[in-house]
């Protein structure tokens, strides 16, 4: 059985309280259209579950298939360094065709970021180490594609639509244990 390693901690990108009873972790790629669909599904799940859900995002850019994914991940981290990770995250998934450098800079300007610092972070690949640490986490946790979800630390092998994810997220923990064998 594949489990999340390392477990969530306050340094992760979190939406919702870390102490929430339900933890959903996504390993995702900004250029992957399936992750784009998942982004909309997760917004609906967060609306449905409120503070019962803690959602976390870790990067898993598939650079061979998606030439813009790693730079986009760096842009999200560069925005995160200025306190705007989720704002940039939403903008990136808002238009997945707009992931080249001029688009990323336009997003950064729209968020009111310090542009010099943002550009310097991208140029110097300041956040690449963090992204690689996420990829390593995905590798040892059993990420098999993007997106890959972990629910309360266990890989979710079911479907990614709203109903399937909601059912998996709200399943009684003992049932979840049995379902996973």
């Amino acid at each position: 059985m594949s489990t999340l390693k390392p477990t969530l901690d306050p340094d992760d990108h979190l939406r919702g309280p870390l102490s929430a009873p339900i933890q959903l972790v996504e390993f995702g790629d900004y250029e992957c259209p399936y992750c784009g669909q998942a982004h909309r599904t997760i917004a609906a799940l967060r609306a449905a579950l409120g503070d019962r859900l803690c959602f976390a995002f870790r990067h898993f850019p598939l650079v061979g298939a998606h030439p813009h994914a790693e730079l986009a991940a760096q842009a999200a981290e560069a925005a995160g360094a200025q306190g705007k990770f989720w704002d940039m995250h939403d903008l990136l998934y808002g238009d997945q065709r707009a992931l080249s450098l001029p688009h990323l800079e336009r997003h950064a300007r729209a968020l009111g970021l310090d542009m010099e610092r943002f550009a310097d972070d991208l140029r110097s690949h300041r956040h690449l180490g963090k992204i690689r640490a996420h990829v390593h986490s995905g590798a040892i946790s059993g990420v098999g594609g993007t997106p890959t979800f972990f629910i309360n630390g266990r890989r979710h092998d079911g479907a990614h639509d709203f109903d399937s994810l909601l059912a998996a997220l709200t399943m009684d923990p003992t049932e979840r244990l049995q379902a996973h064998g």
Partner: protein, 163 residues
């Protein structure tokens, strides 16, 4: 158990044999087909984490029943940095030898094997249909092949300062 040796085409004019890699661990990843309809597929994931295999000096070999020209186009499209072997003629013969062939569908199953430097199968895994196996089991098996060596540690990401 001794891993059955095989020789398969990796490109139209190159072949690869399992025994070529004696002395190093080999990861065999049988999979059903190139061009699977999901973009974030198993092979792209393995490509993304090739460094993790290199840490163990392990060679990844992926095997499906697709022909060499198909493999070539797929590897170029996804910019894959490891060989895709064609279990094409006779179809699925190597997959059958490893018990990793689905007769009904006529393709290899998603099956993983870790073979040690002496050519013995150290670990294997058959994934349930429809589930992309990650590399967690592979990496744990490679880790176990190096008894006495501490697990590869990576520097933990430093805290960012949020102004």
């Amino acid at each position: 158990m001794e891993a059955p040796d095989f020789t398969l085409k990796a490109t139209p004019d190159q072949t690869v044999s399992l025994s070529d890699f004696r002395g190093r661990p080999v990861v065999l990843a049988f999979y059903p087909a190139d061009w699977s309809p999901v973009c974030g597929d198993q092979m792209s994931v393995y490509n993304q984490i090739l460094d993790e295999f290199r840490t163990h000096d392990a060679q990844l070999l992926a095997i499906s029943t697709d022909g060499v020209w198909c493999h070539l186009a797929f590897a170029r499209d996804r910019r894959l940095g490891f060989p895709l072997l064609a279990d094409f003629e006779p179809k699925g013969a190597v997959g059958r030898t490893y018990g990793a062939y689905d007769d009904r569908e006529g393709v290899c199953e998603r099956a993983l094997f870790v073979i040690d430097g002496d050519g013995r199968i150290a670990w294997s895994y058959l994934s349930p249909s429809g589930v992309n196996p990650g590399a967690d089991g592979i990496l744990a098996a490679l880790e176990r092949l190096r008894p006495g060596e501490p697990p590869q540690t990576r520097p933990r990401q430093q805290h960012e300062t949020h102004p």
